[in-house]
């Protein structure tokens, strides 16, 4: 039995086994921590125990005296190299190693390089840091108080005190028409408002972040194996930060053990590993532990929202307006297109036809780790989808209307596409009512409501202490950043390159810039080429994850791989196909215009037996055949794909829960997910992506607490405290699909990696709140742990972002 003999692979789209699995099931993956170089040393980071403190002194002498220690690096060392601070992806600065103050618990203070990883950790204990503790800003809603401690006193505009900006204030950002929206609200028959928290969560990929840096003093070349979702962007940033010439930097992202946005940013540990290698002349490996991962790397969300919805009494939704306090932590390090400091949050109008909408987002500093855009959020579409789907449910509650009926009445209709939203998006395509109806059919919605009514009756008669909840959500995703005119990260336009070469024997090599973290790119991108050229996927090698071997591109996050690099792959394959046509015309001695394509060969119109296969053409293109004027030999092409618009996948989700209000325990009984991501390249992989996102929804909605105490201590810094969903909390997922191709994508695909993470939390929360309806509960914030549910049932909901008082 082998991994390759089971199941015939389609020559193109369809279900096929993943090519990458052969190594993973044998334990032969090659992750960063598997890289082992001769003479390699190991690094470890000393971190701050305080959320906010002045660094008075750092004594490294005892650590330096440790027999296995090769170097101790502090902020002072780095300052000498002008590397103590580095730019973030949001045009702020971030300390690599603290010099003046520490600003969150777990912040990097010093870096030890030693002969082995245990010795490096030992030496951390020998570093003596004197701190002067300062009061911390923990509650984002108090960050702008006049008496709030100043976090970023390193920033000039604060020192001057004349900018008019509050010291913990980062930005204000608005979208939509405020005046028009206020008019709609002023004249509306019904207005409902709710404070809604999308709490801080962490993506927690199973593999933590790490790097192996190897600087060759002779050639001046730096090779960096790194857990990066965006190797090309990282290379450019290193060139800008460290002043190393870009052609002397090679970033290799080998196998990545899950990313989910956690591996987009550049972390101090990576920079320290590089400096460590330069200083010691040896390769240096640094791999963070789980607590370091949870405490210091990109968290997600932390949006404190006030949402309002306006409607008519009979349930026509007219407008939505939102005010947000966005907790960005101690450094503004969010990773999103530059012009969108709140990401794509302004897609909060969701899937509905509204007269007007407006949002205002205020970013603030707090004494917590930096981040905010991560965890499969599609640049904050998670927060937007959750907000609108929660508040639509609250409207249904207020109107005493079934939430499915309210949604069905207000969903955009197929004939309204392309649809211009009140906040500036143009949704490409969709058939929303069809997807919702399919989800309701799969769920047996009417029967569920009947069962719920009977159960409520028993509950109210005191015959049964349990309640049943049914929650819906309908989401519209916005993915595939993006058109380079509007979207860049640190000035790098978000277009992706692709290179395709067909060898003389008809085997092909595709080189792409995006970086799989489990999405199966080696398989699906081969399938795209197969679909376009008729070369079997097993004859196509997909090269990625190495900046020396692949064209430039912005990487994999925001579900952008298929919308951008998938499109680039289709386009470059079509270029090769057109070159093949010219070669075939020379081979067949006919005019190119007289040739027709069918998968895998060019044939003469009206005479299908007169044909050349792509393999024959490849050989001829490398051979002695005399080619037409202006046609170069060989069979290859390059492209850079600049997407004309985002793509807008969507879906309808229904969650059924059993709740025990006496204990607060929630059991997810069923979850139905209908997704429309346009054309599916490999349906098996699409379904796998959805499954994972649905589990995220269970975790975020019910389990994953990342709270802070008044001193800024992180209360979720291990997997014993930050609970991930296991096989026991996850139900069997019931999937459905509709297919509405994107009209502007070459193969009609839309991207799906984050859809379920975006769509599922609202369905779970709506189900729990629906269950608690007999107790008068209108809203409670995630995560709905037993404590949070119980407190909501008691009428005193928790602030889930703060330690329980």
């Amino acid at each position: 039995m082998t991994a390759t003999d089971a199941g015939a692979a389609p020559v193109g789209f369809g279900r096929m086994h993943r090519k990458e699995d052969a190594r993973f099931i044998r334990g032969h993956g090659n992750y960063v921590d598997d890289v082992n170089l001769p003479g390699m040393l190991h690094g470890a980071v000393l971190r701050s125990p305080y959320a906010h403190a002045r660094v008075v002194s750092i004594d490294t002498s005892a650590a330096e005296a440790h027999p296995k220690v090769k170097a101790v690096i502090t902020g002072e060392t780095l300052a000498g190299l002008n590397l103590a601070w580095m730019p973030t992806l949001s045009y702020d600065t971030q300390a690599v190693l603290a010099t003046d103050k520490v600003r969150f618990q777990g912040q990097e203070v010093a870096f030890v390089v030693a002969e082995d990883r245990y010795a490096a950790r030992d030496a951390l204990e020998l570093i003596d840091v004197e701190y002067e503790p300062l009061p911390a800003v923990v509650d984002a809603r108090r960050a702008l108080d006049q008496d709030a401690p100043v976090i970023r006193d390193d920033k000039e505009d604060v020192a001057s005190g004349t900018s008019g900006k509050h010291h913990n204030h980062i930005f204000d950002w608005e979208a939509g028409d405020k005046e028009r929206t206020d008019e709609v609200f002023a004249s509306a028959e019904v207005v409902v408002g709710q404070d809604i928290l999308y709490p801080r969560v962490h993506p927690a990929p199973l593999e933590t972040c790490g790097a192996v840096a190897d600087f060759d003093k002779v050639t001046g070349k730096l090779t960096l194996w790194c857990t990066s979702q965006a190797p090309h962007a990282h290379r450019t940033v290193y060139a800008l930060v460290a002043g190393l010439p870009e052609h002397k930097i090679r970033v290799i992202s080998p196998d990545i053990g899950g990313g989910f946005g956690n591996k987009v940013g550049i972390y101090p540990g990576y920079v320290c590993a590089i400096v460590g290698s330069i200083v010691t002349g040896h390769p240096v490996k640094w791999v963070e532990d789980r607590s370091e991962n949870l405490m210091s790397t990109s968290f997600a969300r932390d949006y404190h929202m006030r949402g309002e919805i306006a409607a008519t009494r009979d349930g026509k939704i007219l407008g939505v307006r939102v005010d947000v306090i966005a907790d960005h932590g101690a450094f503004n390090g969010t990773a999103q297109p530059t012009k969108f400091p709140a990401g794509f949050f302004h897609v909060f109008t969701g899937s509905y036809d509204l007269a007007a909408a407006h949002c205002k987002v205020t970013g603030v500093y707090t004494n917590k780790a930096p981040g905010g855009v991560a965890y499969a959020c599609s640049f904050r579409v998670t927060e937007a989808a959750y907000l609108v789907e929660r508040i639509v449910d609250i409207l249904a509650y207020k109107l005493e209307m079934d939430p499915a009926e309210l949604r069905m009445r207000n969903l955009l209709r197929p004939e309204q596409f392309p649809y211009a939203t009140p906040t500036g998006w143009e949704y490409d395509s969709g058939d929303y009512p069809n997807a919702l109806q399919l989800a309701m059919d799969i769920a047996g919605y009417e029967d569920l409501r009947r069962e719920q009514a009977e159960q409520r009756g028993r509950f109210e008669r005191g015959e049964d202490g349990h309640l049943v909840g049914i929650g819906l959500s309908f989401f519209t995703e916005a993915v595939g950043a993006g058109p380079r005119k509007h979207m860049d990260i640190l000035g790098l336009g978000m277009a992706d390159g692709a290179e395709l070469g067909v060898h003389p024997t008809g085997k092909a090599v595709l080189r792409i810039s995006v970086q799989t973290q489990g999405q199966g790119h080696e398989t699906t991108y081969a399938q795209i080429v197969a679909e376009e050229l008729g070369i079997p996927p097993d004859d196509i090698e997909v090269v990625h994850g190495d900046t020396d071997q692949t064209p430039f591109g912005l990487g994999t996050y925001g579900s952008r791989s298929t919308p951008v690099s998938g499109a680039a792959t289709a386009v470059v394959a079509r270029k090769v196909r057109e070159r093949a046509r010219l070669v075939a015309s020379a081979m067949l001695e006919v005019d190119p215009a007289d040739l027709e394509w069918e998968k895998g060969r060019w044939y003469v119109k009206g005479n299908p037996s007169e044909a050349k296969t792509i393999q024959e053409i490849a050989l001829a293109a490398h051979g002695t055949l005399e080619l037409p004027e202006g046609v170069e030999g060989h069979l290859d092409a390059t492209t850079v794909y600049n997407p004309p618009n985002l793509t807008f996948p969507f879906g309808a989700y229904i969650c059924v829960v059993d709740v025990d209000p006496g204990t607060g325990a929630v059991k997810v009984r069923r979850f139905i997910a209908v997704d429309d991501c346009g054309v599916r390249i490999n349906p098996t992989i699409v379904e796998g992506q959805v499954h994972g996102g649905l589990a995220d929804g269970i975790g975020m909605a019910l389990m994953q607490v990342m709270a802070f105490d008044p001193e800024g201590n992180h209360l979720g810094a291990s997997f014993m405290d930050y609970l991930l969903p296991t096989s026991m909390e996850c139900p069997h997922w019931e999937l459905g699909e509709t297919v509405t191709p994107s009209p502007h994508h070459p193969i009609g695909a839309k991207g799906v990696g984050e859809s379920a993470t975006v769509g599922s939390p609202a369905a779970v929360v709506n189900a729990v709140i629906d269950a608690l309806r007999p107790l008068g509960v209108v809203h409670a914030d995630m995560p709905l742990t037993p404590a949070a549910v119980w407190r909501a049932a008691q009428g005193s909901p928790l602030r889930t972002d703060l330690a329980i008082a």
Binding site: F24, R26, G27, Y31, G518, M720
Partner: protein
């Protein structure tokens, strides 16, 4: 430093280790068996699961010296004579992995489960892997993969010298 002798995947390894060295680091850094991963330090994630004397353990909370004189089986030992174990094939057939990081631990637990319960129900599979995290698959296809293995030769005790009590392990 203590000297230890450990049989890993049927091969004996002897050497000196620090008394505090974790088994996961011994396997990865000393023996180069990097198929076993490390993920959390707290015995929660299970990506480090190997067998110690035929029983799944989380090798991040076992000291290498505790394996002295004992038998360890890792994911690298599942394939035998070029033949994949049915659980390995099941994960390929049913898309039971994405990033692959949890996979070795899942495979070792799945193999152990099938040796002790050749025809497990969905619930029994979920219970068996409940001490292990997967961040990609939502577990659905892992459950299917184990079922596939049960239905395709998984009932035969394939894989490592499986499920034997310590005293029964061949020398």
């Amino acid at each position: 430093m203590p000297s230890i002798t450990v049989s890993v995947n049927g091969q004996e390894y002897a050497g000196e280790v620090e008394a505090r060295l974790l088994l996961v680091h011994y396997l990865r850094d000393h023996l180069g068996l990097t198929g076993t991963h490390w993920g959390c330090d707290t015995s929660n994630c299970g990506t480090c699961v190997v067998w110690l004397d035929g029983v799944p353990v989380k090798s991040c909370t076992v000291l290498a010296v505790m394996a002295d004189g004992h038998t360890v089986d890792t994911v690298e030992g599942l394939e035998r004579n070029g033949e994949l174990d049915p659980v390995q094939q099941g994960f390929v057939e049913c898309h039971g992995l994405q990033c692959g990081f949890c996979t070795p631990g899942m495979l070792m637990t799945a193999r152990w489960l099938l040796n002790h319960n050749p025809d497990p129900s969905e619930h029994e599979i979920r219970e068996a892997i409940s001490g292990q995290s997967c961040r990609c698959t939502g577990y659905e296809n892992i459950v299917r993969s184990v079922r596939w293995a049960a239905e395709h030769g998984g009932k035969e005790a394939a894989g490592p010298e499986s499920g034997l009590e310590a005293e029964e392990v061949p020398a």
